[in-house]
């Protein structure tokens, strides 16, 4: 690293601080978006990932449960269970419901399931237990934090009063959180006791899943049957198509701002030292020396910005999760590497833009 690049930067400490701050904020934004994405991605599909059954059976043309509707009758379940290779077919009813407590009203993604098989129930319980009877409910941890619900509290859904018996994780889909009741309660809440959303099918040991899938299609035409991996992938794809463009747009803005800040600072430094650069050209500076000066400055700023962003990231995430518990984030070393690589790439692009200015400095400018 050239001493001159360090001196150029440290000559104006306030400007350097502001620039590093600006770059750090952009990098922080990217870190945050990536970790929110990871958090949402996990929260949205963790329910499906953890309910590991062999087959998911839905209404015709339904491929996921995140952004699709599926209505099946309990009679479908009866037919599926009659297939000799099927060990069990657990019905799940998913619906949007408004939960009331005192003056609070909040919407949850209510999952009604059969507590006896446990299929379709909460993926992880961090407090309490699963529902055992129709007057109980399990709610998501971030939802509980946001609305200050705790075990033993009573909440109202429509006119029914339910007691919170468990707190779950892996059930925060960012825009909405899952809650769990018995299938019977869920059906009574929507007023259709014979309706379910899907069936979670376990096949008998040693049976070929794809053959069982074909058998179900044959016995009950017009149903969609997915193996677990495909169904999980469908939901991930659905989540990504709904959420990723939003993340990408904000991340792209962050990247553009980062590049603009860096280019601006480097260009200002070049303009301020126009005469220095002209002198350097006259006294025989190799071309690479001048462009390296700019590249080194850009890399130093993005490195400092990354370090500041990393220092600020974890306290900031803790604060945001405290203020808005539904914002669940997940970060890893891989994210840090990705974001820092983007920062380095942008610093190289901005230095390339600024280096063009050096080319336009005419050595004769110093002879004025």
């Amino acid at each position: 690293m050239n001493m001159y690049s360090i001196r150029i930067l440290t000559n104006q400490p306030l400007r350097l601080t502001l620039t590093v701050g600006g770059v750090a904020l952009c990098i922080l934004l990217m870190f945050f978006l990536l970790s929110v994405y990871r958090g949402v991605a996990d929260g949205s599909v963790e329910y499906i990932r953890r309910n590991k059954v062999d087959l998911w059976v839905l209404q015709c043309n339904a491929s996921n449960i995140l952004r699709g509707s599926s209505l099946l009758s309990t009679a479908h379940g009866y037919v599926i269970r009659q297939i000799p290779s099927v060990q069990s077919a657990s019905a799940v009813l998913l619906s949007l419901s408004a939960i009331k407590k005192d003056n609070h009203v909040a919407t949850v993604y209510l999952a009604g399931y059969n507590p006896e098989t446990g299929h379709g129930g909460p993926p992880h319980l961090v407090e309490g237990r699963s529902v055992l009877n129709d007057n109980e409910i399990v709610i998501d941890k971030s939802f509980a934090s946001k609305f200050r619900f705790k075990l033993g509290d009573s909440i109202k859904i429509q006119d029914d009063t339910l007691q919170i018996v468990g707190i779950s994780t892996g059930t925060n889909a960012f825009v909405i959180q899952y809650a769990f009741v018995t299938l019977k309660r869920a059906q009574s809440l929507i007023g259709f006791p014979n309706i379910v959303t899907c069936y979670l099918v376990k096949v008998k040991q040693g049976k070929d899943i794809s053959k069982v899938s074909a058998e179900i299609r044959e016995e009950v035409p017009g149903l969609e049957v997915f193996d677990h991996a495909t169904f999980l992938q469908n939901n991930i794809h659905e989540m990504q198509s709904g959420f990723l463009p939003f993340i990408y747009t904000i991340a792209a803005i962050g990247i553009i701002v980062l590049t603009a800040i860096l280019s601006l600072l480097l260009s200002v430094n070049i303009l301020e030292r126009r005469k220095d650069f002209a002198v350097l050209k006259i006294i025989g500076s190799p071309k690479r020396f001048l462009s390296n000066l700019i590249i080194e400055q850009a890399i130093m700023i993005s490195f400092l910005g990354s370090v500041v962003a990393l220092i600020l990231f974890f306290p900031m995430v803790a604060l945001i999760e405290k203020i808005s518990p539904e914002v669940s984030t997940k970060s890893s070393a891989e994210h840090i590497v990705i974001v820092m690589s983007i920062a380095v790439m942008m610093s190289l692009i901005s230095s390339f833009i600024s280096v063009q200015r050096i080319r336009r400095i005419y050595p004769l400018e110093v002879f004025s």
């Binding site: 001493m3 001159y4 001196r7 150029i8 000559n11 030292r273 005469k275 220095d276 002198v279 350097l280 006259i282 006294i283 025989g284 500076s285 190799p286 071309k287 020396f289 050595p363 004769l364 110093v366 002879f367």
Partner: protein
């Protein structure tokens, strides 16, 4: 790069003219100038402002191309040098001194010197050692750690002279080196420059309108309206 034993003249100009602008708006800064300069010569180029002194210096340094005529530097036509070769020549064989010193303010005095030594290909340690010796010789080693903006005008110009001499150049080009100095300081600078350039067998071409220079000159040239009188 060196090998002066084979060089007859450091600089040769033959009927060199330089015209700026185009169409009707042209200005001829240098007209049909011919000049031979050999090593150890101290040439002073006198002339009023706008007489073309600076343009002539930049032509000699290969910083601008002549409109007509031929310029040879170190026995080779300047047209034959690639831009990389010219850059290397400026780094190793030509020293520059400017009226406003033009030291790099963000760098310490010693770093200003080591920078040109590094441009000439010396490694960091070698450049450092060489710069220290040079500053000692010029009796300005006490300024080594200072930044140029903390120096007096005279000190700045002495550092600028040190920078120009650092690579023991064959040619030193000085544009109004005493223009920003008081009489005494200017006198000292010229005396030093003359002394060190003689020691190093350098050819010095100074553009000035300071008549005190005449005392040190081996040859005096007068330029008026771009014409060498």
């Amino acid at each position: 790069m060196k090998g002066l034993e084979t060089v007859k003249y450091i600089v040769q100009l033959k009927d060199v003219s330089k015209t700026f602008g185009s169409n009707e708006h042209t200005t001829t800064a240098v007209r049909n100038v011919s000049l031979l300069a050999s090593s150890e010569e101290f040439i002073v180029l006198f002339g009023p402002s706008g007489s073309g002194k600076t343009t002539l210096l930049t032509l000699i340094a290969g910083l601008v191309k002549s409109t007509s005529g031929t310029i040879s530097l170190f026995d080779r036509s300047i047209e034959d040098y690639s831009s990389l070769e010219l850059q290397q020549i400026r780094a190793t064989r030509i020293g520059f001194i400017f009226q406003t010193f033009l030291l790099i303010d963000s760098l310490r005095v010693i770093e200003n010197i080591t920078l040109v030594l590094r441009f000439a290909g010396k490694n960091k340690k070698e450049a450092q050692r060489h710069a220290c010796r040079l500053l000692q010789r010029l009796q300005i080693d006490h300024l080594a750690k200072k930044f140029p903006k903390t120096l007096s005008q005279g000190e700045k110009q002495r550092v600028a002279v040190a920078r120009a001499l650092a690579n023991k150049p064959d040619l030193i080009i000085a544009d109004e080196p005493t223009g920003s100095l008081e009489t005494r300081q200017g006198f000292d600078i010229i005396r030093n420059l003359n002394e060190y350039s003689k020691e190093q067998n350098s050819c010095v071409i100074v553009a000035s309108h300071d008549m005190r220079m005449a005392d040190h000159a081996d040859r005096i040239l007068h330029l008026r309206d771009g014409v060498l009188l």
